[in-house]
Amino acid sequence: MSGPSDRLPATRPDAAAAAEVPERVTGSAGFGPDCYAPAPEGTDLVRLEDVYGLFIGGEMVPARSEQLAPTVNPATGETLATFSLGGAEDVDRAVLAARAAYESHWRDAPGSVRARYLYRIARLLQERSREFAVLESLDGGKPVKESRDVDLPLAAAHFFHHAGWADKLDYAFTGASPGPLGVVGQVIPWNFPLLMAAWKLAPALAAGNTVVLKPAETTPLTALLLTEVLQDSDLPPGVVNIVTGDGATGAATVAHPGVDKVAFTGSTAVGKEIQRTLAGRGRRLTLELGGKAANIVFEDAALDQVTEGIVGGIYFNGGQVCCAGSRLLVQESVAEVVVSKLRRRMDTLLVGDPLDKNTDIGAINSAAQLRKISELVESGVQQGAELYQPSCALPERGWFFPPTLFCDVSPSHRIAREEIFGPVLSVLTFRTADEAVEKANNTPYGLSAGIWTEKGSRILWMAERMQAGVVWANTFNRFDPASPFGGYRESGFGREGGRQGLLGYLDLHGRQAAGGDR
């Protein structure tokens, strides 16, 4: 037999009969992650229009702004389609349509009826989920295994979950008689385009509001495809209006005087600007903003699952996740072994074609985002942190960035403080639980945190002290429509999901006198 044991000298005489650990083999064994054959998801299901208008009053209409922009495949740089940049007049039309739908029937539609539509939307999404998943990966660059296994199932689940709330709102908040707020303006980001639309639309509609939704500039296509689902569900015209566009379209949406509530997911800088814009206007506002989550590893943790949790925490969706575990806080006694496990795991990550079913890290969403990541990584090197990147070949076209690990990071480094929104992990160490708490909370953000320890009492002690809206203990990056998600501090306010998520779309005393099934 010619095995690895033939090639390497035995170093332990007492184990001479057994194979020594072979050196790291960089070449191929004929099988393995370095030589999985291409397994591309077919794109034949996806049919794109050349030019997209806006979805207002239940139909696709040309934008009065007459402004168009291309949306590109970040994995190739090729233009996929041309879509409309809605202007102030278009937003105005959409708000009017939403207002008309709200006042003419949606506000007074029985909850059981609203539920019917939401159930239908959920089912239609499930039926067309492969088509949506492929389109999501085409337009946004995320690996198709994520759009297929995470984005789409969760989007459908959000509609299904909230459908059930629509006729049970009277039981949700003790002593209250909740009613809708009116017209909701929603602005969503590019990292989970369809899922964020679902997170926004489902609770708003369940609560009896009508919506003007502004998808992100670089990822409008799944929201535009969603208009077909909305139409097929027979949702009444004007209940949901989708106005694609850029930052100006979003600004016009949130500032529109006819909007009763604004919900925004995106950067903290823009969130602050929106809060400022809405000052004094009596609008309801919820913000889901940035983060710089600490993933805290104690020495007694299940270190192999920790490794997976760290990898999933920072490399899921290429780290373009507001709750990404971008700061690894590891107890000094296990820092070396954790980093070693992490590096070895990073070496198996497959970076490349988002449509390949084996791809772990796809394309960075845009050239601008890639520049930002590169600039921050450069700053990490400049400031003296130790960089590690596996030697994976990146595709020649498109916007890609390798999984990146920084050791010897000090809390003052930019890479430890600023949200990078890319596949970049900063490793810091701590000695005691108190020190871990202090370092974890040493940020203006407060969206999420991870705690890894097998000691139950320490989990609860740590969880209580995390200034974060979501705490994952011995897991990370889990989402569920029944589980409220949202931040402390400068990560925003308000929750999405679960009973608490409904609060952002209801006036708890909005129906003091009304009765009936609503």
């Binding site: 689940a157 908040f173 003790t174 002593g175 209250a176 600004a251 016009a252 500032a255 005087p257 903290t268 969130g271 602050k272 600007e273 809060q275 400022r276 814009t277 809405l278 000052a279 004094g280 206007r281 009596g282 913000l287 903003l289 203006p444 989990i459 969880a463 995390m466 974060a468 809206g469 979501v470 705490v471 994952w472 203990a473 011995n474 897991t475 889990r478 569920d480 029944a482 589980s483 409220p484 998600f485 949202g486 402390y488 501090r489 400068e490 990560s491 925003g492 306010f493 929750r495 679960g498 009973r499 608490q500 609060l503 006036d507 708890l508 005393h509 003091q512």
Partner: protein, 318 residues
């Protein structure tokens, strides 16, 4: 200022209550607080920006330990506030009556004091119950135990309304204290007397020093200062809204969506813009909650407004 027996009275100096101590403003300024009829009630302390900063620092220093007390203990302390308040009922009624004297208001000072006392008792009882009502276990689709708990926001700034100088404060302060927040209260500008006496009550009710701080003075500069302190987690602007209205529905005049600051911006707009710099939460009493004597003025959802919701996940496995 003299008793019926001809004895010369001993008028109280109405100081602010900061960090457990009764203090004058570091600025040395006062302002005349007058009754509805225009009589001088007292030279109240005119708190300054620095006083706000000191009060916030005191609140921050006291908050964690307050939140760390058991819910049962916080409940007993808030009940103790009611006991002490009831023991000083006559004094409070007198202060409210003097403030209302000569005005049009049909408010009944005794009813306001009694309602305030009752409100402390009502909220005291919520301390060990609100998480059961507001939080819960979430049935997620996977092998995880997942629960959501309401937690205190931290330091809350409360701008109290003028129309119910005592009950207005208590109705906002009590639900803020229930989950373990510390508070900086800006007393109603027009009649701060009962608010100061409330401070004395809190000081003798086992409420730890710094958990509640009460400032008096001109509303606008104090609200601006409070909203501008980065270390305030939440501001309650109830006292900045007109008493009889829902929150403003129209865009304030001169507001340009592009964001330029026009001259003459109203206080609420200004405060909310300042709050935006650190994503500070802005809350206010809902319309129903602002009918202070009505049952609708108290609600577990008022506590909820002063809570953050934290959701914790953990796998279930052998």
């Amino acid at each position: 200022m003299s008793g019926g027996d001809g004895r010369l009275g001993v008028p109280k100096t109405y100081k602010m209550y900061v960090g457990g101590a009764f203090v004058r403003s570091e600025s040395g300024r006062t302002y005349p607080a007058r009754s509805a009829g225009g009589d001088l009630l007292a030279h109240a302390v005119a708190g300054s920006r620095k006083d706000v900063r000191d009060a916030v620092r005191a609140a921050r220093g006291a908050q964690a330990a307050w939140a760390a007390r058991t819910a049962y203990n916080r409940g007993q302390i808030l009940y103790r506030v009611a006991e002490v308040m009831d023991s000083r009922r006559a004094e409070l009624v007198g202060e409210l009556a003097r403030a209302a004297a000569g005005g049009q208001s049909a408010a009944d000072p005794a009813a306001e004091v009694d309602a305030a006392t009752d409100r402390w008792i009502w909220y005291a009882g919520w301390c060990d119950k609100y998480p059961q009502v507001l939080g819960g276990a979430n049935p997620v689709a996977g092998p995880y135990f997942n629960f959501t708990v309401p937690e205190p926001m931290g330091v809350v700034g409360l701008a109290a309304p003028d129309e119910a100088p005592l009950l207005g404060i208590v109705s906002r302060l009590a639900p803020a204290l229930v989950p373990g927040n510390a508070a900086v209260v800006l007393a109603g500008e027009r009649c701060p007397l009962a608010a100061v006496t409330l401070g004395e009550i809190l000081a003798t009710s086992d409420v730890p020093a710094g958990v509640v701080n009460i400032l008096t003075g001109r509303r606008a500069p104090l609200v601006r200062a409070l909203a501008g302190v980065g270390d305030v987690d939440c501001v309650d602007l109830t006292g900045c809204d007109p008493p009889d209205a829902d929150p403003p529905d129209a865009d304030p005049p001169g507001v340009d969506p592009a964001g330029a600051d026009p001259p003459g911006v109203d206080l609420v707009t200004e405060a909310e813009r300042l709050a935006a710099a650190t994503v500070t939460r802005v809350v206010r009493a809902a319309a129903g909650e602002r009918r202070w004597l009505a049952p609708s003025a108290q609600s577990p959802h008022a506590i909820s407004a002063f809570c953050e919701y934290k959701t914790v996940w953990h796998p279930k496995g052998r």
